[in-house]
């Protein structure tokens, strides 16, 4: 009976451990991570002549063309924009760490929508933590060195992910040789392919963003420390935002600016680039794709004096 029980328990625990390991490999494989592997591939290909790195969310991913910015600034510029709710400032922190393991740019421009920073992490159903785990899967140390709350949330997220069926399948696929496929659109647009439709807001939409969350302060502090330690010129600007929201959210920007600057990062202007109705894209912080060059110029004009 003893050997039977031992065999049974060994079979079950080994198989479950193997499945959990495969799911962990699935996390590492990141087969469904879309923009993240694309930006990581750009980091891997960075050369020492890169002078400006842009980190941020979709407001800048769609709103800024790195080639045009390079021409305007006469500095080789790379945009590494991810998305807001899924990665946000946490993703920017991880990508900056990864950039610094390859090159030392002079300028780091962080551009996030105030909308992203106004929502508490707990209200985003674990998205920022999931994104952080994805982004930092090659640097697991980063996951547990932010602060205790983030470490706990990360541990819980990993606890969920190692029992996730899709990640188990991804892990099996990765072991079989499947690798993330980066869609051609990413190379074409240097980001997701933009949509041309216009956001429709219902009557219940409140244009005021409300009080900003403090959940992200720790990431700004981490970035500021990295910038200081590596002698980088790190600056922050708000991503473009619907004009009406900007008009109704001045207090939010004031508080956010104060938080970011307290963390040690210079904020270029206390208010985002406004998107008038005729320029509005498919969300309140996206512009129409045809206006990318014009908004790149606006962004450049805003930060030009602050670039080294």
């Amino acid at each position: 009976m003893k050997s039977y029980l031992i065999t049974l328990i060994v079979i079950i625990t080994t198989a479950l451990a193997a499945m959990m390991s495969l799911a962990a490999i699935g996390v590492y494989a990141c087969l469904e991570c879309d923009v993240l592997p694309f930006q990581e591939s750009k980091i891997a290909a960075l050369t020492p002549d890169v002078e400006t790195v842009i980190l941020g969310d979709s407001s800048i991913g769609y709103g800024l063309d790195a080639k045009i910015f390079s021409e305007l600034s006469h500095q080789k510029t790379v945009s590494l924009a991810l998305t807001g709710y899924n990665y946000g400032i946490g993703g920017a922190y991880v990508l900056l760490t990864e950039v610094l393991s390859h090159v030392r740019p002079r300028n780091v421009l962080i551009a996030l929508s105030a909308q992203t920073l106004a929502v508490e992490m707990s209200k985003l159903k674990g998205k920022p933590i999931r994104g952080l785990v994805q982004a930092a899967r090659r640097h697991p140390r980063l996951l547990f060195t932010v602060n205790r709350e983030i470490s706990w949330d990360v541990a819980k997220e990993i606890g969920v992910e190692i029992f996730d069926e899709q990640l188990l399948m991804d892990g099996i696929a990765y072991v079989r040789g499947v690798r993330p496929v980066i869609a051609d659109d990413f190379f074409k647009y240097d980001y997701y392919a933009p949509g041309t439709d216009v956001v429709q807001l219902d009557g219940s939409f409140t244009y005021s963003l409300g009080a900003p969350s403090h959940d992200y302060d720790v990431f700004f502090q981490k970035i500021a420390r990295l910038c200081n330690a590596n002698g980088l010129n790190c600056i922050f600007m708000y991503g473009p935002l619907m004009q009406k929201v900007v008009e109704h959210s001045q207090l939010t920007f004031q508080m956010l600016t104060s938080q970011i600057e307290r963390a040690g990062i210079k904020v270029i202007r206390q208010s985002p680039i406004e998107i008038p109705d005729e320029d509005q894209g498919n969300t309140i912080n996206h512009i129409q794709p045809r206006l990318r060059a014009a908004y790149t110029k606006k962004a450049y004009d805003l930060v030009a004096d602050s670039l080294r």
């Binding site: 009976m1 050997s3 065999t7 079979i11 499945m19």
Partner: protein
């Protein structure tokens, strides 16, 4: 809490086992207390408010049972007490389970206009009520007595049987709760108990739960007025026959396996019912402890077969109608019970006509099994359907009344996918061709009242504590656990709703 949930398998069960055996080293009474508290915690996980019904019910029945066991009351007093006890239990069951049906029926008959009370059905109320009624009757008949409150509370609330049976007899459980061997962990009990548990888990998670979505689609479509073809109707009914078989069989195995981990053998509740060659035999194999309860506490007190054949057949019908109603507060359950009552009456009448043959040809056995299975399957349609209209719609389609034989457009039909059909075919083969869990485990007799295997050598599979058996059981366990953990597929047991 469900037996097939991660919290139960990986947290509740190991913790309860560990605490029970550790405490048992110091004190048996304390160990029984721990097991009782664990059972109440298990019960409260679904909804802690249910404890407000279970705990007073245990207390009241214990006090009534104690009064019945004592010597102070005369015969009339004891009769009054047991009558009160049974009536109180039935009143409680009626209030929580049948009052809304009663009100609804009155409203529909335009006898009064009373709004439904929407009373929530406490988990397992039918089971613990019947268990306690049996105890009161046995105590009244001086077959049992229980002076120890903790033992009684554990007998009723013991988590392996609490929410879906088996319905226990005090006499078969109490000696085990007192036996010295119960309080010592035994490797044999762990090996056999875990194996039976994992076999049950496999039946539930891999077989029953994979058949459930197709059943749901068919009954849902019929409920929404979609006209089904005969093929679709039969697929729904047959799949449900298999789903409920593996759901209940799986649950029963898991309950027996879990209990054996604590050194306690539960009575057999399920013995390959679809291998029955007639409906009388079916009821000796399906939900055996309910059949036993209905026989001992309803059929025999009604007169059983002692008052002539006509009365016997009438008693059978009464028992089956009430047995149907026991399953749920809906007229569809009464019709299901009535159908089985009718089958049993015909079966008894047939046996009266031709006599009960002891020897049967292989062909007659096959024909008997097939006819019994089909009759049971037709009756399941009423058991599963939420409304009478749904049941009639499916039944009509099955018998080709106003329905096509096959769907006109296969693309828009509600037929099972090929992989689900393959699972159903495998399930059917297991039902008819494989030995059941008790037969496989017959060398170790994990359940009480299991029929003795005359010739274990004739069985194709016989469990022994070998590496090969560990590999087979381990594979079944991994398949089930992986489904629970990774697919997050944790389906309720059908019998939990009763």
């Amino acid at each position: 809490m469900l037996f097939n949930s991660v919290a139960f398998i990986f947290v509740f069960l190991p913790a309860t086992l560990l605490i029970f055996f550790l405490v048992a080293k110091a004190s048996r009474v304390a160990a029984l207390c721990c097991l009782t508290v664990a059972s109440l915690i298990f019960y409260a996980q679904t909804d802690s408010r249910y404890l407000l019904i279970l705990v007073p019910s245990i207390l009241a029945n214990y006090l009534i049972g104690s009064a019945l066991s004592g010597e102070r009351l005369g015969d009339n007093g004891r009769f009054a007490i047991v009558t009160f006890g049974i009536a109180a239990n039935l009143a409680c069951l009626f209030t929580f389970k049948y009052l809304d049906l009663f009100i609804d029926t009155i409203d529909r008959l335009n006898l009064a206009d009373i709004g439904l009370l929407h009373i929530e059905l406490p988990l397992g109320i039918s089971f613990f009520t019947f268990t306690q009624i049996a105890f009161l009757v046995d105590a009244y008949q001086r077959k049992v007595s229980e002076p120890r409150f903790v033992n009684y509370a554990l007998f009723v609330s013991y988590f392996p049987h609490l929410v879906a049976g088996p319905i226990l007899h005090h006499a078969e459980m109490m000696p085990q709760f007192s036996a010295e061997g119960t309080f010592r962990p035994r490797l044999e009990n762990f090996a056999v108990g875990l194996s039976v548990f994992f076999i049950g888990l496999f039946k539930k998670v891999i077989l029953a739960d994979h058949l459930a979505p197709h059943v749901h689609r068919i009954f849902d479509a019929a409920g929404q007025g979609t006209g089904l073809s005969a093929l679709e109707g039969w697929s729904g009914a047959l799949f449900y026959a298999l789903q409920i078989y593996f759901d209940f069989s799986g649950y029963s195995d898991m309950a027996i396996g879990l209990s054996l981990l604590f050194g306690v053998r539960l009575p057999l509740n399920f013995n390959s019912p679809y291998k029955a060659v007639n409906i009388i035999e079916f009821w000796r194999r399906w939900h055996m402890t309910l059949s036993r309860f209905l026989r001992d506490y309803l059929y025999i007190p009604l007169g059983g077969s002692r008052a002539g054949e006509a009365r016997r057949l009438a008693n059978v019908m009464i028992v089956m109608l009430l047995g149907g109603l026991w399953h749920g507060a809906s007229w569809t359950f009464v019709i299901w019970g009535g159908l089985h009552g009718l089958y049993l009456m015909v079966n008894h009448a047939w046996q009266m006509l031709i006599g009960e043959k002891r020897t049967r040809s292989r062909l007659s056995v096959l024909a008997g099994r097939l006819v019994t299975f089909l009759l049971v399957t037709v009756a399941w349609v009423f058991f599963r359907s939420p409304t009478l209209d749904t049941a009639l719609s499916i039944a009509k389609s099955m018998f080709g009344l106003g329905a096509l034989l096959v769907p006109i457009d296969p693309a828009s039909s509600i037929l099972p996918s090929s992989d689900v059909a393959a699972i159903a075919a495998a399930a059917m083969a297991i039902v008819w061709l494989m030995p059941n869990t008790q037969e496989i485990m017959s060398l170790y007799q994990p359940a009480l009242n299991a029929p003795r295997q005359a010739d274990t050598g004739s069985l194709p599979f016989l469990w022994r504590p070998t590496i090969a058996c560990a590999a087979i059981v381990g594979t079944a366990a991994i398949a089930s656990l992986a489904t629970i953990i990774f697919e997050k597929r944790v389906g309720d047991f059908i019998y939990f709703q009763f």
